[in-house]
């Protein structure tokens, strides 16, 4: 049995700041995360044609790693973190991922030895636990996934991460139907059950290999909601529903830390500020410098408490300023330099609050994720921290309450967003407080409505 968080690592929201966490982590080549400074974490994807063979993929990663390290040294940055999110070929063939990690780490060691630059390598195997038609969270694919973690850890990856898929079969159905109990079940319950299982095993591998079990994110669900919601003129999902999904994702991501993750949390986990408030572990974040990958409505705000600052992902190709990874790693580290100067000059909280206020009222999503409000969601989660269902429901209710009590002259929401919010709150109010009742009712409902939902095969209830 894992120990659930029932209290917060920070005594108050104002103590939370970028570059500093309660429990920093240190990588092999000197980079510390959350130890008082922010570092850029560059993330990349190979070109489409590079996936056709192991040799082509390894060559692609060799070149892009060299490019990044060379640029970091050319521009004089003290450190840089690299994240390799696996393409499916690399996880399904663990030796491919291992070879890429080995090549990358070797290059990073050479730069570290020659110039003293501090570096860290994160590898993020893909969650390949799926059959053609169904999630297969437990079984042979799970074993392949663990082999992949072993391979990249052996080869030198400092931080082990993943973006797990648990709960997604129900989420994909629920999110397109404004089904709030479905979001709680998919993200908060099914997702957390899967997270608890997988992160206990990742932690074992990390401990055995002397690596750091870093963290997970609810990318497959909360980010799906955020992407579907889109910008201000998109009509695919109310942004109020998207932030409710995000709030529920925090207790899910928390489950990874309860099972052994130590941070830095994954960049695309916009729920990470809530999670940092509870765990005190360092986090990566992405925002204005990840527009190469996607648009969001909180480009500055999410920088508020980051320890690594990421670009999410960019395809490796040429730009006027060099290769894409060189351009984006340079931008990331200039951002990091600005944050670190604020820290060095005693202006960190001032800058943090400027970043927050530039987006806090842009959208319901940014409003709830502003560190002061994120802290309140964290308190709601910890209140019933040992109950996966209740803490998820609490997070959703806290999110609704924050939005309904916001100053309507500052946080201006559309009628549609307000109606969706009111409907969501009514749905939450109608939900039981009994976890067992909710779980059994939900299992029955979604087994009937979602053909690909096979709970007995996938979740250790």
């Amino acid at each position: 049995m894992v120990k659930r968080y029932t209290s917060l690592a920070y005594k108050n929201a104002d103590d939370m700041i970028f570059g500093k966490s309660v429990y920093p982590v240190k990588a092999e080549l000197g980079l510390e995360v959350g130890a008082g400074y922010v570092t850029g974490e560059v993330n990349y994807a190979p070109r489409p044609e590079a996936g056709v063979s192991k040799e082509k993929l390894v060559s692609e990663y060799r070149r892009l790693t060299t490019d990044i390290m060379a640029r970091a040294v050319q521009v004089g940055f003290p450190g840089i973190s690299l994240e390799t999110e696996h393409v499916e070929q690399m996880t399904n063939n663990p030796d491919w991922g291992g070879e890429v990690a080995h090549v990358q780490k070797t290059i990073m060691e050479e730069y570290h030895e020659e110039y003293g630059i501090k570096t860290a390598l994160r590898h993020t195997p893909g969650d390949v636990r799926e059959n053609r038609d169904l999630l297969a969270l437990i079984g042979p694919k799970y074993d392949v996934l663990m082999e992949s973690f072993e391979a990249v850890a052996d080869a030198g990856a400092d931080f082990l991460s993943i973006e797990t898929m648990g709960g997604k079969e129900v989420l994909d159905y629920a999110i397109l139907r404004n089904d709030i109990p479905g979001l709680v079940y998919a993200i908060g319950c099914l997702g957390s059950i899967d997270m608890t299982m997988i992160w206990e095993d990742i932690r074992k591998i990390a401990d055995k290999k002397g690596r750091i079990a870093a963290g997970d994110t609810d990318c497959s669900q909360a980010n799906t909601a955020m992407f579907i919601a889109g910008g201000l003129l998109d009509k695919n999902l109310a942004h109020t529903i998207a932030i409710i999904a995000r709030a529920i994702s925090a207790p899910r991501t928390l489950a990874g830390y309860e099972a052994g993750a130590q941070g830095p949390g994954k960049d695309c986990g916009y729920e990470n500020t809530i999670v940092k408030a509870i765990t005190g572990c360092p986090i990566a974040q992405e925002g204005k410098t990840s527009t190469c990958a996607h648009s969001d409505v909180m480009g500055n705000l999410v920088m508020q408490c980051c320890d690594l600052w990421s670009n999410e992902s960019v395809e490796y190709h040429g730009e006027f300023g060099g290769t894409s990874v060189q351009c984006w790693s340079e931008s990331l580290n200039y951002d990091a330099a600005m944050l670190n100067v604020a820290t060095e000059t005693g202006n960190a909280k001032m800058l943090r609050d400027i970043l927050v206020l530039s987006d806090k009222y842009r959208d319901p999503q940014g409003y709830v994720l502003a560190y002061d409000n994120a802290y309140k969601v964290a308190e709601a989660i910890a209140k019933d921290g040992d109950n996966l269902y209740l803490r998820s429901k609490n997070a959703a209710i806290a999110c609704c309450d924050l939005l309904t009590s916001a100053d309507p002259k500052k946080l201006v929401m559309s009628k549609f967003e307000i109606n969706a919010l009111n409907d969501a709150k009514a749905a939450l109010d109608a939900m039981t407080d009994e976890e067992s009742t909710f779980m059994s009712d939900s299992m029955e409902k979604y087994k009937a409505e979602v053909a690909v939902f096979r709970p007995e095969d996938n979740y250790k209830f």
Binding site: P46, V52, V87, E88, E130, L232, K410, E417
Partner: protein, 253 residues
């Protein structure tokens, strides 16, 4: 520290919001006669039980079950998709309405023992190696809502299987979605294999990492930036537009 945010952002969605509610706008579009009016309202509300109840009454009153599909169910759904296209209602409303409409169609087929001819057939799939299928599911639902028959091959579909399905089904259009750069490379293979077989149908591609630059690298590719482009593209094909015209209409960058 706090601010008045009015000088640093504009919530354009609020500024553009119509004075009328979606329900009021829909009500103006419902047929004036019963039971069509009630059934259309039930579709708009996504109330499956009410749709079936309305159909039961209509059939009891002498209506032809199969005719109800075109004359009432599709009319109700068109109100929903038109309001979605106008930005008045959101995707979940469309999905729930489509669920209700499809249930109504099944009921009518059971009652009438026949089915009306769809507007056309589309084969949908997610690229080989890619299991992310929510985009494909949205595309399939919007196509069905617009009256097209959808052959859904699912996710992680091998290229061979895509080619075999196209040969078997002879669709008017093929769609492919992908989230990742390395999986979308399968689209190019699909394109080449279709051309080798002498099949020149529009191949609509979209999703996460997919972009117009990549799609325009292969002859049959039409880039779909939004899922809602899929039925519009199918309509354009029905109106006689060829590959070049489709590219001109849908390639926005």
């Amino acid at each position: 520290m706090d601010i008045d945010p009015s000088k640093i952002l504009v919530r354009y969605n609020v500024a553009k919001e119509k004075a009328q509610t979606p329900e009021e706008m829909a009500a103006e579009l419902y047929p004036s006669t019963e039971p069509a009016k009630t059934i259309c309202a039930a579709i708009f509300d996504g109330e499956e039980d009410d749709v079936i109840e309305g159909l039961e009454k209509a059939i009891e009153g002498g209506a032809d079950p199969v005719a109800l599909i075109d004359d009432v169910l599709m009319v109700g759904m068109k109100i929903v998709t038109d309001l979605y296209d106008q930005g008045v209602i959101f995707l979940p409303n469309v999905m729930m309405s489509a669920d209700a409409m499809l249930e109504g169609i099944e009921y009518c087929k059971e009652q009438g023992g026949a089915a009306p001819k769809p507007k056309g057939k589309v084969v949908c799939h997610v690229a080989e190696g890619d299991v992310h299928d929510i985009g494909k599911s949205i595309v399939a639902a919007l196509l069905r809502a617009a009256g097209y028959e959808v052959v859904d091959l699912g996710r992680d579909v091998p290229v061979d299987e895509v080619i075999a399905a196209v040969k078997k089904e002879s669709p008017m259009m093929l769609t492919g979605t992908a989230l990742m750069t390395t999986t979308m490379y399968a689209f190019k293979e699909v394109n080449d294999r279709l051309l080798e077989s002498g099949i020149k149908i529009p191949f609509q591609c979209g999703g996460g990492a997919v972009n117009q630059d990549f799609v325009t690298q292969y002859e049959l590719g039409i880039y779909g930036e939004e899922a809602a482009d899929a039925p519009k593209m199918a309509d354009a094909i029905l109106s006689g537009k060829g590959l070049a015209q489709l590219k001109e209409q849908f390639h926005k960058h």
